[in-house]
């Protein structure tokens, strides 16, 4: 039933998007674990509820019990949830610190949210910055694989297997930069420079959408990322007429 798609949602999809980065793979696995734990809790509580509903129906001549305390059971249902929460918290916090930042970025891209489009700036290159607008419904060319409300006129091109630092800024109101397949979401806040990172592990086209209400065009500022091989990425930067900044300057950011 769930059509698996890569880089965007499948129709009738039930789960998270297919991971395209090691980080999203970790998030995916953590979610699977949570799904098991929460699923068992729901089934357990529902089973108890269903049992009580059937078993303790009012019957003639049967008087209800009168107990209102049981210290042992009360201690158990306080302690067991605490243990379950500790089991959740440990991988949860590990994941959190993994997400936080990448120690040695190989490429830095600054993205800026505008009402209602995204701007991109490759910080390691001179002259590599552009705006990325959505493509209107009537101009969508499905033969090129374009998708309504997701495709942009200027996709962001990134190399695969590269630690990419993403700086997130905003020019007017708050937006949020998101790329579900890579496990990325960070608010773009005026007056603040946020940082996140991604490492895409295979070539492909990946989509995201603005994820903080930003006014009339909130639904219409997609993010489109093309992940290509490192050679193709170099060729693309040359074609854009961009020059790599001297390394010293690049590292001074």
């Amino acid at each position: 039933m769930a059509n698996a798609q890569d880089g965007y949602a499948g129709s009738w999809q039930l789960n998270l998007q297919t991971p395209a980065s090691p980080l999203q793979a970790e998030i995916y696995d953590f979610h699977t674990m949570l799904l098991w734990i929460t699923g068992i809790i729901v089934v357990f509580v529902t089973a108890l509820l269903a049992y009580a509903v059937v078993k303790f129906r009012r019957k003639k001549g049967v008087e209800p019990a009168n107990f209102a305390h049981n210290t042992l059971i009360e201690v158990i249902w306080t302690i067991v949830p605490i243990v379950v929460l500790i089991i959740i918290a440990i991988p949860s916090l590990k994941l959190l610190y993994l997400e936080d930042r990448i120690p040695e970025p190989e490429l830095t891209i600054k993205t800026t949210g505008y009402q209602w489009y995204w701007g991109y700036e490759y910080m390691d290159y001179d002259g590599l910055e552009f705006m990325s607008y959505p493509i209107a419904d009537e101009d969508i060319d499905e033969s090129k694989g374009q998708k309504r409300l997701l495709s942009t006129d200027n996709p962001v091109v990134v190399p695969v297997d590269t630690n990419i630092q993403i700086l997130v800024a905003a020019a007017d109101v708050i937006h949020a930069f998101a790329l579900p397949a890579a496990g990325v979401k960070k608010d773009a806040v005026p007056g603040q420079l946020n940082e996140t990172w991604m490492r895409i592990d295979r070539p492909g086209v990946y989509y995201g959408q603005c994820s903080e209400i930003c006014g009339t065009g909130h639904s219409y500022m997609p993010i489109e990322i093309h992940a290509v091989s490192k050679e193709e990425f170099d060729a693309w930067t040359r074609k854009q007429g961009a020059k790599l900044k001297p390394k010293a300057i690049a590292e001074d950011k």
């Binding site: 039933m1 798609q5 949602a9 129709s11 009738w12 999809q13 039930l14 789960n15 998007q17 949570l34 929460t38 809790i41 729901v42 509580v45 529902t46 509820l49 009580a52 509903v53 303790f56 009012r58 019957k59 008087e63 209800p64 019990a65 009168n66 209102a68 305390h69 049981n70 059971i73 009360e74 249902w77 949830p81 929460l85 959740i88 918290a89 949860s92 916090l93 994941l95 959190l96 419904d137 998708k147 309504r148 007017d172 109101v173 708050i174 579900p180 496990g183 979401k185 960070k186 005026p190 603040q192 946020n194 959408q209 994820s211 903080e212 209400i213 006014g215 009339t216 639904s219 997609p222």
Partner: protein
């Protein structure tokens, strides 16, 4: 004992009687609920299919601002004008004095002004949607979108005034409840003998007096930013938009407990009554609510995991948020234990209460998922969050609004509701809301952002009207189900995007919407044709009796002229 009821105008417009004010609150809550519900029906119609069919400008282009105004109004109405007036103003006013054996609230005139502030607040909010471009900020009113930059004109100013008035109303009401509960209990009713609904109202009232002033401060700062050139939240003047979010959620997180705690109290009474058993772990239940209320104040930034706050702060808020699951678990298990060994009869209020336990468990565990900052990064601001908070509020608090209505309407009006229709109402709502909100988990996991007027998905063939699109998608859903069940090959034209589950969600919403119409029928049926209710129409036994069952249905205009006794 003769009742000296004042004349119509004095009785209903200058009322100082807690029962009459409670009735006004309940009527207002139902009225506002119909409006807020109609907003959501219109939104679900728009989201049923991709493309924008209903909320368009005159030239047919999408009216994204109108959408944002709708989601904002829906949220604010449901929070401030449906759930709070219903559970706190309505049932709180009616039953706190009755349950503690008091003749009225401590400050009857304050009670009157609390109610009458709600009306202009509501009018201001509705008017804010109609002037200029409307307040399309979301109920969270984050600047700079809510500042002059995002919303010139006066609609946001009017929404702020609406919240000022609603907030003042809540604070005054809460002060009244605290005073009443602490000072007017009958002799012998110590705090540890107080009914759990009264406990829940006491905790809720403390949350209100501590949290709502912070909202008041935040929106006042926003107001001066907008109009008097201050820059509290404007980085160009050294301000910080994130400061607003901290202030808002310092109010906003307790606010969700303000909405659910009274429901907790009501559920306990209903389950005890229909199981013919005392509430299991009474003291643990009371202090679990106190614990939830306390922890509710120190977890606010879990609404702000993606704003860029530091990773150590995220760690703290993750752990603190997870801890809430412990007292919440105590409540769920104690309700089950109250049923255990009981002699349960399934009248309509009990159905709503059992439905609540199930749905609150589902909403609770998705809360545990969202509590993890590391997980939240892919779920934040998606439909997963929408599903979560509708499970705990729309299916939690609202279920108990209905449960309380069915449980107490005989006491309040002196007439019984029609049992069969009440059960039909429950099942329609239960199926409808689950169809509406369960698929939204899938949408959120797949990445669909919330507050979107339109979503990525292939458009349906052109020229289909609403009915044509509905038939098309019924066929699609049926064929998908068929191919999933039988393994038959089905080549769908809809291979990607968020259409499928949005369609199911909208169908569920129509069913739930239909159940509201049935509820209105039930209300009128009860008031005009309902059979007379006896004093203790649920046959609540002595050992679990609360004082409202010791007096007539409806109670006399002034009750407890002779002070009741508590063992």
């Amino acid at each position: 004992m003769a009742d000296h009821k004042p004349g119509f105008f004095t009785r209903w417009f200058c009322s100082t009687n807690h029962k009459d004010i409670g009735t006004l609150y309940i009527l207002f809550s139902i009225f506002a609920g119909i409006i807020g519900g109609a907003f959501s029906m219109y939104m679900r119609m728009e989201l049923q299919d991709p493309g924008v069919q209903f909320m368009t400008n005159e030239d047919g282009s999408p009216n994204g601002q109108m959408w944002n105004v709708f989601i904002t109004a829906h949220g604010l109405i449901m929070v401030f004008f449906v759930v709070m007036p219903g559970l706190i103003g309505g049932f709180g006013n009616w039953f706190v004095p009755l349950m503690i054996g008091a003749p009225d609230m401590a400050f009857p005139r304050l009670n009157n002004i609390s109610f009458w502030l709600i009306i202009p607040a509501f009018l201001l909010l509705i008017a804010s949607a109609l002037v200029d471009i409307g307040a399309g900020t979301g109920w969270t009113i984050y600047p700079p979108l809510s500042a002059k930059l995002g919303h010139p004109g006066m609609s946001v100013d009017m929404a702020i005034f609406a919240l000022h008035l609603a907030g003042a109303s809540s604070i005054l009401g809460a002060a009244n409840f605290i005073t009443t509960i602490l000072n007017m209990r009958v002799p012998g009713m110590t705090l540890h003998k107080m009914p759990l609904f009264v406990w829940s109202m006491l905790v809720t009232s403390f949350l209100l007096v501590l949290a709502v002033p912070v909202l008041g401060g935040a929106i006042t700062m926003l107001l001066t930013d907008r109009n008097f050139g201050t820059t509290f939240f404007n980085p160009e003047g050294g301000g910080d938009p994130i400061l607003f979010q901290h202030l808002f959620w310092f109010f906003g997180h307790p606010e969700v407990y303000i909405m659910i705690l009274p429901a907790f109290g009501i559920v306990s009474h209903i389950i005890s009554t229909f199981s013919r058993k005392p509430i299991f772990g009474y003291l643990a239940m009371a202090y679990a609510m106190v614990a939830i209320g306390f922890v509710g104040f120190i977890v606010w930034a879990h609404h702000m995991y993606t704003t860029g706050i530091s990773v150590n702060t995220l760690t703290y808020f993750t752990v603190a948020t997870l801890i809430i699951a412990v007292p919440t678990g105590v409540k769920i298990f104690s309700w089950l234990a109250t049923m255990w060994g009981g002699s349960i009869i399934y009248k309509t209020p009990m159905l709503w209460a059992i439905g609540f336990i199930f749905l609150f468990t589902v909403g609770g565990v998705t809360g545990v998922v969202l509590a993890n900052a590391g997980m939240d990064v892919v779920l934040h601001d998606t439909y997963y969050v929408v599903a979560h908070f509708h499970y705990v509020l729309s299916l939690g608090a609202v279920f108990i609004l209905f449960a309380g209505w069915y449980y107490w309407i005989g006491k309040m009006s002196g007439r019984m509701y029609p049992e069969f229709l009440g059960k039909v109402h429950f099942w329609m709502t239960f199926i409808g809301v689950n169809l509406t909100f369960f698929p939204q988990h899938f949408l959120g996991l797949a990445g669909m952002p919330r507050r979107y007027i339109d979503y990525p998905a292939p458009l349906l063939p052109e020229g289909l009207d609403w009915w044509g699109r509905t038939q098309f998608m019924f066929n699609e859903a049926w064929m998908q189900l068929h191919s999933w069940a039988t393994g038959a090959v089905y080549e769908s034209t809809i291979t990607w995007g968020y259409h499928g589950w949005n369609f199911v969600s909208s169908m569920g919403a129509y069913l739930a919407g239909g159940s509201v119409i049935l509820f209105i029928v039930i209300v009128f049926w009860t008031l005009f044709f309902g059979r007379k209710a006896s004093d203790n129409y649920w046959d609540v036994e002595d050992k679990i009796m609360t004082l409202e069952w010791t007096i007539s249905s409806p109670p006399p205009f002034h009750q407890f002229e002779i002070q009741p006794k508590v063992k």
